[in-house]
Protein backbone atom coordinates (compact mmCIF):
# COMPACT_ATOMS: atom_id res chain seq x y z
CA UNK A 1 0.00 0.00 0.00
CA UNK A 2 2.33 2.67 -1.17
CA UNK A 3 0.49 4.78 -3.72
CA UNK A 4 2.14 7.99 -4.79
CA UNK A 5 -0.56 10.64 -5.15
CA UNK A 6 0.21 12.91 -8.10
CA UNK A 7 -2.28 15.70 -8.33
CA UNK A 8 0.12 17.58 -10.60
CA UNK A 9 -1.07 15.38 -13.49
CA UNK A 10 -4.49 17.00 -13.21
CA UNK A 11 -3.36 20.61 -13.55
CA UNK A 12 -3.36 20.46 -17.35
CA UNK A 13 -7.07 19.63 -17.30
CA UNK A 14 -8.18 22.44 -14.95
CA UNK A 15 -10.24 24.10 -17.69
CA UNK A 16 -12.03 20.87 -18.42
CA UNK A 17 -12.99 20.38 -14.76
CA UNK A 18 -14.17 24.00 -14.54
CA UNK A 19 -16.40 23.76 -17.62
CA UNK A 20 -17.66 20.38 -16.39
CA UNK A 21 -18.63 21.90 -13.04
CA UNK A 22 -20.32 24.79 -14.86
CA UNK A 23 -22.35 22.35 -16.95
CA UNK A 24 -23.41 20.45 -13.82
CA UNK A 25 -24.55 23.68 -12.17
CA UNK A 26 -26.37 24.87 -15.31
CA UNK A 27 -28.19 21.54 -15.64
CA UNK A 28 -29.16 21.73 -11.97
CA UNK A 29 -30.42 25.30 -12.28
CA UNK A 30 -32.50 24.57 -15.38
CA UNK A 31 -34.01 21.37 -14.03
CA UNK A 32 -34.70 22.97 -10.62
CA UNK A 33 -36.73 25.79 -12.18
CA UNK A 34 -38.61 23.45 -14.50
CA UNK A 35 -38.89 20.58 -12.02
CA UNK A 36 -40.28 22.69 -9.17
CA UNK A 37 -42.76 24.29 -11.59
CA UNK A 38 -43.79 20.82 -12.65
CA UNK A 39 -44.11 19.86 -8.99
CA UNK A 40 -46.38 22.86 -8.29
CA UNK A 41 -48.52 21.98 -11.31
CA UNK A 42 -48.76 18.38 -10.14
CA UNK A 43 -49.65 19.43 -6.60
CA UNK A 44 -52.34 21.73 -8.00
CA UNK A 45 -53.81 18.87 -10.02
CA UNK A 46 -53.90 16.82 -6.80
CA UNK A 47 -56.31 19.47 -5.43
CA UNK A 48 -58.55 18.99 -8.45
CA UNK A 49 -62.12 17.77 -8.09
CA UNK A 50 -61.72 15.46 -11.09
CA UNK A 51 -60.38 11.95 -10.55
CA UNK A 52 -58.93 11.59 -14.08
CA UNK A 53 -56.14 14.20 -13.84
CA UNK A 54 -55.40 13.11 -10.26
CA UNK A 55 -54.87 9.52 -11.42
CA UNK A 56 -52.64 10.69 -14.27
CA UNK A 57 -50.39 12.68 -11.90
CA UNK A 58 -50.34 9.77 -9.48
CA UNK A 59 -49.26 7.39 -12.26
CA UNK A 60 -46.47 9.79 -13.32
CA UNK A 61 -45.22 10.19 -9.74
CA UNK A 62 -45.18 6.45 -9.12
CA UNK A 63 -43.54 5.66 -12.46
CA UNK A 64 -40.69 8.10 -11.82
CA UNK A 65 -40.22 7.38 -8.13
CA UNK A 66 -40.04 3.62 -8.67
CA UNK A 67 -37.59 3.45 -11.56
CA UNK A 68 -33.86 4.22 -11.61
CA UNK A 69 -32.84 7.65 -12.87
CA UNK A 70 -30.31 6.10 -15.24
CA UNK A 71 -33.06 4.07 -16.88
CA UNK A 72 -35.21 7.19 -17.26
CA UNK A 73 -32.27 8.98 -18.84
CA UNK A 74 -31.59 6.13 -21.29
CA UNK A 75 -35.29 5.99 -22.11
CA UNK A 76 -35.27 9.67 -23.06
CA UNK A 77 -31.95 9.59 -24.94
CA UNK A 78 -31.91 6.17 -26.61
CA UNK A 79 -35.59 5.26 -26.49
CA UNK A 80 -37.39 8.35 -27.78
CA UNK A 81 -35.47 8.46 -31.11
CA UNK A 82 -37.12 5.11 -31.92
CA UNK A 83 -40.44 6.97 -31.74
CA UNK A 84 -39.06 9.64 -34.05
CA UNK A 85 -38.35 12.18 -31.29
CA UNK A 86 -34.75 13.34 -31.66
CA UNK A 87 -33.41 15.44 -28.84
CA UNK A 88 -29.81 16.32 -28.13
CA UNK A 89 -27.93 15.10 -25.09
CA UNK A 90 -28.29 18.37 -23.15
CA UNK A 91 -32.03 18.57 -23.76
CA UNK A 92 -32.35 14.91 -22.85
CA UNK A 93 -30.44 15.48 -19.62
CA UNK A 94 -32.55 18.50 -18.59
CA UNK A 95 -35.75 16.66 -19.55
CA UNK A 96 -34.87 13.56 -17.53
CA UNK A 97 -33.73 15.60 -14.53
CA UNK A 98 -36.86 17.77 -14.69
CA UNK A 99 -39.18 14.76 -14.86
CA UNK A 100 -37.34 13.20 -11.96
CA UNK A 101 -37.27 16.25 -9.71
CA UNK A 102 -40.85 17.08 -10.72
CA UNK A 103 -42.20 13.76 -9.47
CA UNK A 104 -40.45 14.04 -6.11
CA UNK A 105 -41.52 17.65 -5.61
CA UNK A 106 -45.16 16.78 -6.34
CA UNK A 107 -45.03 14.40 -3.39
CA UNK A 108 -43.10 16.81 -1.15
CA UNK A 109 -45.50 19.69 -1.89
CA UNK A 110 -48.55 17.45 -1.46
CA UNK A 111 -47.29 16.56 2.02
CA UNK A 112 -46.86 20.28 2.75
CA UNK A 113 -50.36 21.09 1.54
CA UNK A 114 -51.87 18.30 3.64
CA UNK A 115 -50.07 19.73 6.65
CA UNK A 116 -51.85 23.08 6.31
CA UNK A 117 -54.49 23.10 9.05
CA UNK A 118 -58.06 22.47 7.86
CA UNK A 119 -59.21 25.76 9.37
CA UNK A 120 -57.22 27.74 6.77
CA UNK A 121 -59.17 26.14 3.96
CA UNK A 122 -62.44 26.82 5.74
CA UNK A 123 -61.42 30.42 6.35
CA UNK A 124 -60.61 30.82 2.65
CA UNK A 125 -64.00 29.34 1.75
CA UNK A 126 -65.69 31.72 4.22
CA UNK A 127 -63.93 34.61 2.46
CA UNK A 128 -65.42 33.34 -0.82
CA UNK A 129 -62.01 32.56 -2.30
CA UNK A 130 -62.12 30.29 -5.32
CA UNK A 131 -60.30 26.95 -5.29
CA UNK A 132 -57.57 28.48 -7.44
CA UNK A 133 -57.18 31.47 -5.14
CA UNK A 134 -57.13 29.21 -2.09
CA UNK A 135 -54.36 27.13 -3.65
CA UNK A 136 -52.24 30.08 -4.79
CA UNK A 137 -52.67 32.38 -1.80
CA UNK A 138 -53.32 30.08 1.15
CA UNK A 139 -52.13 26.53 0.60
CA UNK A 140 -49.04 26.89 -1.62
CA UNK A 141 -47.14 29.58 0.35
CA UNK A 142 -47.60 27.72 3.62
CA UNK A 143 -46.80 24.35 2.06
CA UNK A 144 -43.61 25.81 0.54
CA UNK A 145 -42.49 27.20 3.87
CA UNK A 146 -43.11 23.89 5.63
CA UNK A 147 -41.36 21.64 3.12
CA UNK A 148 -38.61 23.96 1.95
CA UNK A 149 -35.79 22.01 3.68
CA UNK A 150 -37.00 18.75 2.08
CA UNK A 151 -37.25 20.46 -1.30
CA UNK A 152 -33.75 21.88 -0.93
CA UNK A 153 -32.44 18.39 -0.15
CA UNK A 154 -34.14 17.03 -3.24
CA UNK A 155 -32.50 19.72 -5.38
CA UNK A 156 -29.08 18.79 -3.99
CA UNK A 157 -29.85 15.10 -4.64
CA UNK A 158 -30.77 16.00 -8.21
CA UNK A 159 -27.47 17.81 -8.67
CA UNK A 160 -25.49 14.87 -7.31
CA UNK A 161 -27.55 12.40 -9.33
CA UNK A 162 -26.83 14.38 -12.47
CA UNK A 163 -23.43 12.66 -12.54
CA UNK A 164 -25.01 9.87 -14.60
CA UNK A 165 -25.76 12.20 -17.51
CA UNK A 166 -22.10 11.69 -18.44
CA UNK A 167 -23.34 8.31 -19.68
CA UNK A 168 -25.14 9.98 -22.58
CA UNK A 169 -22.03 12.06 -23.39
CA UNK A 170 -23.11 15.28 -21.67
CA UNK A 171 -19.83 17.01 -20.80
CA UNK A 172 -20.55 17.52 -17.09
CA UNK A 173 -18.10 17.22 -14.20
CA UNK A 174 -18.16 13.41 -14.17
CA UNK A 175 -17.63 13.33 -17.93
CA UNK A 176 -14.57 15.52 -17.48
CA UNK A 177 -13.27 13.14 -14.81
CA UNK A 178 -13.85 10.05 -16.97
CA UNK A 179 -12.11 11.73 -19.86
CA UNK A 180 -9.13 12.82 -17.79
CA UNK A 181 -8.61 9.46 -16.14
CA UNK A 182 -8.82 7.71 -19.52
CA UNK A 183 -5.90 9.88 -20.60
CA UNK A 184 -3.60 10.06 -17.59
CA UNK A 185 -4.74 6.88 -15.78
CA UNK A 186 -4.80 8.79 -12.50
CA UNK A 187 -8.25 7.52 -11.51
CA UNK A 188 -7.72 7.93 -7.78
CA UNK A 189 -6.59 11.55 -7.93
CA UNK A 190 -9.20 12.44 -10.54
CA UNK A 191 -12.16 11.06 -8.62
CA UNK A 192 -10.75 12.38 -5.38
CA UNK A 193 -10.70 15.84 -6.92
CA UNK A 194 -14.22 15.74 -8.37
CA UNK A 195 -15.60 14.25 -5.15
CA UNK A 196 -14.20 17.36 -3.48
CA UNK A 197 -15.75 19.62 -6.12
CA UNK A 198 -19.14 17.90 -5.81
CA UNK A 199 -18.94 18.21 -2.02
CA UNK A 200 -18.14 21.91 -2.23
CA UNK A 201 -20.89 22.54 -4.78
CA UNK A 202 -23.45 20.60 -2.70
CA UNK A 203 -22.56 22.49 0.48
CA UNK A 204 -22.67 25.85 -1.31
CA UNK A 205 -25.97 25.00 -2.99
CA UNK A 206 -27.48 23.90 0.31
CA UNK A 207 -26.26 27.07 2.03
CA UNK A 208 -27.60 29.25 -0.78
CA UNK A 209 -30.98 27.52 -0.64
CA UNK A 210 -31.14 27.88 3.14
CA UNK A 211 -30.47 31.61 2.89
CA UNK A 212 -33.01 31.97 0.11
CA UNK A 213 -35.54 29.98 2.12
CA UNK A 214 -35.06 32.19 5.14
CA UNK A 215 -35.48 35.35 3.04
CA UNK A 216 -38.57 34.03 1.31
CA UNK A 217 -40.47 32.36 4.07
CA UNK A 218 -39.56 33.71 7.50
CA UNK A 219 -41.83 36.73 7.24
CA UNK A 220 -44.50 34.59 5.75
CA UNK A 221 -44.24 32.09 8.59
CA UNK A 222 -44.38 34.86 11.18
CA UNK A 223 -47.51 36.17 9.53
CA UNK A 224 -49.03 32.70 9.44
CA UNK A 225 -48.41 32.20 13.09
Amino acid sequence: MSYQLQFGDLAAYAGMFASGAAVTLALTAASTLLGISLGIAGAAVYQSRHAGPRTAVHAYVEAIRNTPFLVQLFFVFFGLPALGVHIGEYTAAVLAMTLNLGAYSVEILRAGIEAVPRGHREAAAALAMSRRETFVHVLLPQAFAKVFPALASQIVITMLGSAVVSQISVADLTYAASYVQSRNFRAFETYFLIAGIYLAMALLLRAALTVAGRRLFTRNMRGAR
Binding site: P81, G88, Q167, I168
Partner: protein
Protein backbone atom coordinates in the same frame (compact mmCIF):
# COMPACT_ATOMS: atom_id res chain seq x y z
CA UNK B 1 35.40 -38.14 4.76
CA UNK B 2 31.73 -38.54 4.19
CA UNK B 3 31.39 -35.74 1.66
CA UNK B 4 34.26 -36.85 -0.53
CA UNK B 5 32.63 -38.38 -3.64
CA UNK B 6 34.12 -41.67 -4.68
CA UNK B 7 35.16 -42.25 -8.24
CA UNK B 8 31.97 -44.10 -9.22
CA UNK B 9 29.76 -41.24 -8.14
CA UNK B 10 31.99 -38.80 -9.92
CA UNK B 11 31.68 -40.79 -13.13
CA UNK B 12 27.84 -40.74 -12.87
CA UNK B 13 27.86 -36.97 -12.46
CA UNK B 14 30.05 -36.63 -15.47
CA UNK B 15 27.73 -38.80 -17.56
CA UNK B 16 24.72 -36.80 -16.47
CA UNK B 17 26.44 -33.53 -17.31
CA UNK B 18 27.30 -34.82 -20.76
CA UNK B 19 23.77 -36.07 -21.31
CA UNK B 20 22.16 -32.67 -20.76
CA UNK B 21 23.55 -30.92 -23.84
CA UNK B 22 23.06 -34.08 -25.86
CA UNK B 23 19.36 -34.20 -24.96
CA UNK B 24 18.84 -30.55 -25.77
CA UNK B 25 20.56 -31.17 -29.06
CA UNK B 26 18.15 -34.01 -29.92
CA UNK B 27 15.18 -31.92 -28.81
CA UNK B 28 16.35 -29.12 -31.05
CA UNK B 29 16.73 -31.58 -33.89
CA UNK B 30 13.15 -32.77 -33.38
CA UNK B 31 11.84 -29.20 -33.54
CA UNK B 32 13.92 -28.49 -36.60
CA UNK B 33 12.56 -31.48 -38.43
CA UNK B 34 10.39 -29.98 -41.12
CA UNK B 35 6.97 -29.18 -39.73
CA UNK B 36 5.29 -29.42 -43.14
CA UNK B 37 6.62 -33.00 -43.53
CA UNK B 38 5.38 -33.83 -40.05
CA UNK B 39 1.92 -32.54 -40.89
CA UNK B 40 1.75 -34.51 -44.12
CA UNK B 41 3.01 -37.66 -42.40
CA UNK B 42 0.52 -37.23 -39.55
CA UNK B 43 -2.32 -36.52 -41.96
CA UNK B 44 -3.70 -33.74 -39.71
CA UNK B 45 -3.11 -30.04 -39.45
CA UNK B 46 -3.41 -28.85 -35.85
CA UNK B 47 -4.56 -25.24 -35.65
CA UNK B 48 -5.07 -23.03 -32.60
CA UNK B 49 -8.30 -21.08 -33.10
CA UNK B 50 -10.19 -18.64 -30.87
CA UNK B 51 -13.09 -20.21 -29.03
CA UNK B 52 -14.84 -17.06 -27.92
CA UNK B 53 -14.04 -14.23 -30.29
CA UNK B 54 -16.73 -13.85 -32.93
CA UNK B 55 -16.69 -13.39 -35.84
CA UNK B 56 -13.13 -14.86 -35.90
CA UNK B 57 -13.99 -17.95 -33.93
CA UNK B 58 -16.86 -18.96 -31.70
CA UNK B 59 -19.06 -21.93 -31.00
CA UNK B 60 -22.02 -21.96 -33.36
CA UNK B 61 -25.62 -22.93 -32.63
CA UNK B 62 -24.71 -26.53 -33.61
CA UNK B 63 -21.90 -26.53 -30.99
CA UNK B 64 -19.32 -26.57 -33.79
CA UNK B 65 -16.64 -23.89 -33.95
CA UNK B 66 -17.27 -21.37 -36.70
CA UNK B 67 -15.82 -18.10 -37.91
CA UNK B 68 -13.32 -16.44 -40.20
CA UNK B 69 -10.33 -18.12 -38.52
CA UNK B 70 -11.99 -21.54 -38.71
CA UNK B 71 -12.63 -21.05 -42.43
CA UNK B 72 -9.02 -19.96 -42.92
CA UNK B 73 -7.79 -23.08 -41.09
CA UNK B 74 -10.04 -25.27 -43.24
CA UNK B 75 -8.70 -23.59 -46.37
CA UNK B 76 -5.10 -24.35 -45.34
CA UNK B 77 -5.86 -27.97 -44.41
CA UNK B 78 -7.57 -28.43 -47.77
CA UNK B 79 -4.58 -27.04 -49.67
CA UNK B 80 -2.28 -29.43 -47.78
CA UNK B 81 -4.72 -32.27 -48.40
CA UNK B 82 -4.80 -33.23 -44.71
CA UNK B 83 -7.47 -33.41 -42.04
CA UNK B 84 -8.07 -30.43 -39.79
CA UNK B 85 -7.84 -30.55 -36.03
CA UNK B 86 -9.05 -27.40 -34.27
CA UNK B 87 -7.54 -26.58 -30.88
CA UNK B 88 -9.48 -23.88 -29.00
CA UNK B 89 -7.20 -21.33 -27.33
CA UNK B 90 -7.51 -17.93 -25.74
CA UNK B 91 -5.39 -14.88 -26.36
CA UNK B 92 -3.06 -15.61 -23.45
CA UNK B 93 -2.16 -19.20 -24.28
CA UNK B 94 -2.19 -19.18 -28.08
CA UNK B 95 1.55 -18.57 -28.48
CA UNK B 96 2.63 -21.06 -25.77
CA UNK B 97 0.52 -23.71 -27.55
CA UNK B 98 2.61 -23.12 -30.65
CA UNK B 99 5.93 -23.03 -28.81
CA UNK B 100 5.25 -26.31 -27.01
CA UNK B 101 4.32 -27.98 -30.31
CA UNK B 102 0.69 -28.61 -29.34
CA UNK B 103 -0.35 -26.99 -32.61
CA UNK B 104 1.26 -26.40 -36.00
CA UNK B 105 -0.29 -23.01 -36.67
CA UNK B 106 -1.98 -20.24 -34.73
CA UNK B 107 -4.90 -18.73 -36.64
CA UNK B 108 -6.40 -16.72 -33.87
CA UNK B 109 -6.80 -13.08 -34.94
CA UNK B 110 -3.13 -12.69 -34.11
CA UNK B 111 -1.60 -9.23 -34.57
CA UNK B 112 2.08 -8.64 -35.31
CA UNK B 113 4.19 -7.01 -32.60
CA UNK B 114 7.98 -6.73 -32.27
CA UNK B 115 7.84 -8.80 -29.05
CA UNK B 116 5.95 -11.60 -30.77
CA UNK B 117 8.24 -11.49 -33.80
CA UNK B 118 11.14 -12.39 -31.51
CA UNK B 119 9.56 -15.74 -30.63
CA UNK B 120 7.46 -16.78 -33.61
CA UNK B 121 7.18 -16.18 -37.34
CA UNK B 122 4.28 -14.58 -39.15
CA UNK B 123 2.72 -15.29 -42.54
CA UNK B 124 1.22 -12.65 -44.78
CA UNK B 125 -1.82 -10.89 -43.45
CA UNK B 126 -4.93 -13.00 -43.94
CA UNK B 127 -7.64 -10.99 -42.16
CA UNK B 128 -8.52 -7.32 -41.85
CA UNK B 129 -8.44 -5.85 -38.36
CA UNK B 130 -8.67 -2.11 -37.98
CA UNK B 131 -10.28 0.75 -36.16
CA UNK B 132 -12.11 3.18 -38.37
CA UNK B 133 -14.94 5.64 -38.72
CA UNK B 134 -18.19 4.14 -39.97
CA UNK B 135 -21.46 5.70 -40.97
CA UNK B 136 -24.46 5.62 -43.29
CA UNK B 137 -23.95 5.96 -47.06
CA UNK B 138 -25.56 9.41 -47.29
CA UNK B 139 -22.92 10.98 -45.01
CA UNK B 140 -19.88 11.69 -47.17
CA UNK B 141 -16.65 11.41 -45.23
CA UNK B 142 -13.28 10.54 -46.76
CA UNK B 143 -10.89 11.45 -43.96
CA UNK B 144 -10.50 13.16 -40.59
CA UNK B 145 -10.77 16.64 -42.18
CA UNK B 146 -14.31 15.87 -43.38
CA UNK B 147 -15.46 15.35 -39.79
CA UNK B 148 -15.76 19.10 -39.23
CA UNK B 149 -19.15 19.78 -37.72
CA UNK B 150 -20.10 16.11 -37.66
CA UNK B 151 -20.82 14.15 -34.50
CA UNK B 152 -18.89 10.93 -33.99
CA UNK B 153 -19.67 8.47 -31.21
CA UNK B 154 -16.75 6.64 -29.62
CA UNK B 155 -16.02 4.56 -26.55
CA UNK B 156 -14.04 6.58 -24.04
CA UNK B 157 -10.44 5.47 -23.61
CA UNK B 158 -10.59 3.04 -26.54
CA UNK B 159 -7.66 3.12 -28.96
CA UNK B 160 -9.79 4.62 -31.76
CA UNK B 161 -11.22 7.33 -29.49
CA UNK B 162 -7.78 8.54 -28.37
CA UNK B 163 -6.39 8.40 -31.92
CA UNK B 164 -9.40 10.20 -33.39
CA UNK B 165 -9.23 12.94 -30.75
CA UNK B 166 -5.72 13.73 -32.03
CA UNK B 167 -6.53 13.24 -35.74
CA UNK B 168 -9.71 15.32 -35.86
CA UNK B 169 -9.57 18.15 -33.32
CA UNK B 170 -12.54 19.91 -34.98
CA UNK B 171 -14.89 16.93 -34.94
CA UNK B 172 -17.54 16.72 -32.26
CA UNK B 173 -16.66 13.48 -30.53
CA UNK B 174 -19.30 12.15 -28.16
CA UNK B 175 -17.74 9.74 -25.72
CA UNK B 176 -19.62 6.89 -24.08
CA UNK B 177 -18.51 4.57 -21.33
CA UNK B 178 -18.91 1.28 -23.14
CA UNK B 179 -19.27 -0.15 -26.63
CA UNK B 180 -22.97 -0.83 -26.24
CA UNK B 181 -23.82 2.78 -25.45
CA UNK B 182 -21.70 3.92 -28.40
CA UNK B 183 -23.50 1.48 -30.70
CA UNK B 184 -26.89 2.54 -29.32
CA UNK B 185 -26.07 6.22 -29.83
CA UNK B 186 -25.24 5.46 -33.46
CA UNK B 187 -28.25 3.24 -34.09
CA UNK B 188 -30.68 5.71 -32.53
CA UNK B 189 -29.20 8.53 -34.61
CA UNK B 190 -27.90 10.48 -31.63
CA UNK B 191 -24.52 10.56 -33.35
CA UNK B 192 -24.02 10.65 -37.12
CA UNK B 193 -20.96 8.42 -37.28
CA UNK B 194 -19.25 5.85 -35.11
CA UNK B 195 -15.57 5.22 -34.46
CA UNK B 196 -15.07 1.52 -33.78
CA UNK B 197 -13.24 -1.65 -34.74
CA UNK B 198 -14.26 -3.44 -37.93
CA UNK B 199 -15.36 -6.33 -35.72
CA UNK B 200 -17.84 -4.08 -33.91
CA UNK B 201 -19.08 -2.72 -37.24
CA UNK B 202 -19.50 -6.29 -38.45
CA UNK B 203 -21.48 -7.18 -35.35
CA UNK B 204 -23.80 -4.21 -35.96
CA UNK B 205 -24.18 -5.08 -39.65
CA UNK B 206 -25.01 -8.68 -38.82
CA UNK B 207 -28.20 -7.46 -37.15
CA UNK B 208 -29.34 -5.56 -40.27
CA UNK B 209 -29.99 -2.24 -38.53
CA UNK B 210 -31.84 0.66 -40.17
CA UNK B 211 -28.60 2.69 -40.12
CA UNK B 212 -25.77 0.66 -41.66
CA UNK B 213 -22.21 1.47 -40.58
CA UNK B 214 -20.30 1.68 -43.85
CA UNK B 215 -16.50 2.11 -43.75
CA UNK B 216 -15.44 5.75 -44.14
CA UNK B 217 -11.74 5.75 -43.30
CA UNK B 218 -9.19 3.79 -41.29
CA UNK B 219 -7.89 5.20 -38.01
CA UNK B 220 -5.44 2.43 -37.25
CA UNK B 221 -4.72 -0.72 -39.21
CA UNK B 222 -3.36 -3.86 -37.53
CA UNK B 223 -4.30 -6.88 -39.66
CA UNK B 224 -4.12 -10.51 -38.49
CA UNK B 225 -1.43 -12.99 -39.41
CA UNK B 226 -1.00 -16.75 -39.20
CA UNK B 227 1.56 -17.55 -36.51
CA UNK B 228 4.01 -20.43 -36.82
CA UNK B 229 7.25 -21.56 -35.20
CA UNK B 230 10.51 -20.01 -36.30
CA UNK B 231 12.76 -21.73 -38.85
CA UNK B 232 9.96 -23.40 -40.77
CA UNK B 233 10.56 -21.95 -44.25
CA UNK B 234 8.64 -24.67 -46.06
CA UNK B 235 5.54 -24.41 -43.90
CA UNK B 236 5.72 -20.60 -44.07
CA UNK B 237 5.99 -20.69 -47.87
CA UNK B 238 3.06 -23.08 -48.06
CA UNK B 239 0.86 -20.90 -45.83
CA UNK B 240 1.78 -17.78 -47.79
CA UNK B 241 1.05 -19.41 -51.16
CA UNK B 242 -2.34 -20.53 -49.93
CA UNK B 243 -3.19 -17.06 -48.62
CA UNK B 244 -2.08 -15.45 -51.89
CA UNK B 245 -4.15 -17.89 -53.88
CA UNK B 246 -7.17 -17.32 -51.65
CA UNK B 247 -6.85 -13.58 -52.26
CA UNK B 248 -6.69 -14.15 -56.02
CA UNK B 249 -9.53 -16.64 -56.37
CA UNK B 250 -11.85 -14.60 -54.18
CA UNK B 251 -12.20 -17.04 -51.28
CA UNK B 252 -10.87 -14.48 -48.77
CA UNK B 253 -13.22 -11.90 -50.25
CA UNK B 254 -16.13 -14.29 -49.75
CA UNK B 255 -15.04 -15.04 -46.17
CA UNK B 256 -14.83 -11.32 -45.41
CA UNK B 257 -18.33 -10.72 -46.77
CA UNK B 258 -19.63 -13.72 -44.85
CA UNK B 259 -18.11 -12.91 -41.44
CA UNK B 260 -17.51 -9.16 -41.46
CA UNK B 261 -20.31 -8.11 -43.80
CA UNK B 262 -17.84 -5.92 -45.68
CA UNK B 263 -15.42 -6.42 -48.58
CA UNK B 264 -11.73 -6.85 -47.82
CA UNK B 265 -9.93 -3.52 -47.47
CA UNK B 266 -7.83 -2.69 -50.55
CA UNK B 267 -4.53 -2.82 -48.67
CA UNK B 268 -4.87 -6.45 -47.60
Amino acid sequence: MEHQPNSLQRRRWLAALLAVPALTFFAAQAANADALDAITKRGTLRVAVPEDYPPFGAVGPDMQPQGYDIDMAALLAKSMKVKLQLVPVNSANRIPYLQTDKVDLVISSLGKTPEREKVIDFSQAYAPYFQGVFGPTDIKVGGPADLNGKTVGATRGALEEIALTNMAPNATIRRFDDNNATIQAFLSGQVQLIAAGNIVAAAILAKHPPREPEMKFVIKDSPCFVGLNKNEPQLLARVNTTIEQAKKDGSLQAMSKKWFGQPLPANL
